[in-house]
């Protein structure tokens, strides 16, 4: 039986909003990075690729710790946002967005990069012989061909942001409706020994995660026909 309180629903809606915003932002900044990584042959491609992949291996506490210091009143980011009159980012929704953009970056870039690499040079060369500019070729040839990659990348980014916990705990401040996402809400329920409520919300998360992954795996075969 699933019983959700108002604050549980608030946490779920906040989580979906955060994941949605992060996915949109990463689509915009992740696509050029992935395209560049897939096409370039410069020697510093590997270091850039490694930096993009860092959040896969870094403990969230490391990222949370650095972000807390950097976005604090004495950190470079904090001084910059204060000089703009924006105040400090920790304990705000947009602070979480920025942290999540870092945290989920590889989940957007890597599937996209794979999709772009799978297209190969041939379709783009053909487009060039038909007098398509590189930008034209990207939007009319590469993007449609990489569509399965875009879908996989977006779903994984969205899902990974939903599953975020450590970074949010470190810079969020657990404010209802602003930074108290579903994972933190579950943690609070468990800490307060409210196992029934923890069960309900956890079940929702479990069903959600399974459905997302199932969708991604069902989608995979259709991605293959483009190779």
């Amino acid at each position: 039986m699933i019983l959700l309180t108002d604050s549980d629903i608030q946490a779920i809606l906040l989580t979906l909003r955060l994941a949605g915003v992060v996915t949109l932002i990463l689509l915009i900044i992740g696509t050029p990075i992935a395209w560049w990584l897939a096409r370039t042959k410069v020697w510093w491609k590997s270091p850039v690729g490694a930096v993009v992949a860092l959040p896969l291996v870094l403990p969230p506490s490391v990222l949370g710790f650095y972000l807390l210091l950097a976005m604090g009143p004495n950190g470079p980011v904090g001084q910059f946002t204060q000089s703009l009159g924006l105040g400090l980012l920790p304990f705000t929704f947009w602070g979480l967005v920025i942290a999540s953009v870092f945290y989920s970056l590889p989940f957007m870039v890597q599937p996209l990069q794979n999709a772009f690499e799978a297209i190969g040079d041939r379709p783009l060369e053909v487009a060039a012989t038909l007098r398509a500019s590189p930008l034209d070729a990207f939007f009319t040839v590469a993007m449609p061909l990489a569509r399965p990659g875009f879908i996989t990348a977006s779903i994984l980014t969205f899902a990974h942001t939903v599953g975020e916990f450590g970074v949010v705990l470190m810079i969020g401040g657990n404010i209802p409706g602003i930074t108290r996402v579903a994972s933190v809400q579950i943690y609070d329920h468990v800490e307060a020994l409210e196992y029934m409520q923890a069960h309900s919300l956890s079940a929702v998360m479990l069903i959600f995660s399974f459905t997302v992954l199932l969708f991604v795996y069902i989608w995979q075969p259709s991605a293959k026909k483009w190779k």
Partner: protein
Amino acid sequence: MKIKHYLFKPLLPLIFGLMLFNWSSVAFCDEIHIAAAADLKFAMDEIVAEFNKTNPADKINATYGSSGKFHTQIQQGAPYDLYFSADIAFPIQLKNDGFSASAVIPYAFGRIVLWSASMDASKMTLDNLNDAGITRVAIANPKHAPYGKRAEEALRAAGVWHKIEPKLVYGENIAHTAQFVQTGNAQIGIIALSLAVNPELARKGGYWLIPEQLHAPLEQGFIITKRAEGKPLAKKFAGYMSSKTSRAIMKKYGFVLPDETSKD
């Protein structure tokens, strides 16, 4: 198959080495694991260090965190031998549920303080939290952290809760709360006196002791868990808590001992 073989062979000495290492640490000295509330961080580290001076062969591993989390973990069979809770209600419940091998032993009363890393909080009171210049106030999560519950009580008793609630940010435990204030992300916060008197934190800003009439007492207690029933070291360390040395350390960190009355 071949690949597996290649991978495994160089690892063999390492595996045997690790096994030997593990075995030796079990065989030659006694070892216990302590779960302690985050407010004990500095005091307990010092008590363990003193204990090791006279008992160099014994190994005490202390883990600090929120009392509520440890309560759940011990219920689920976590390998802790002693459990020090910032709220005596948790160990009492564990005792009632059969997870304790000892009586619930009260060891201290905690106090809360207003502390800031950038302002001199010793010249402030809870009313100052209304100031427009203060935009973020950190407290521990009142839902499950004992120090957070008392902070909320004090803010309500002082009549400022409703005005400052929008400014509140919540730490997972009291040490996490202090970290929000120490990094300046919250200008001020309500933390444990035992943390505020630590030199690391006392160097900056200042603290104001919140009158104890404003909140219920923070009675703290510990137990020897069921799994440590036959461990002499668990009993020995439990006894050491009431030694002169331990009591002096606890007092130094601002804890009020159970058989002494508070000063104010």
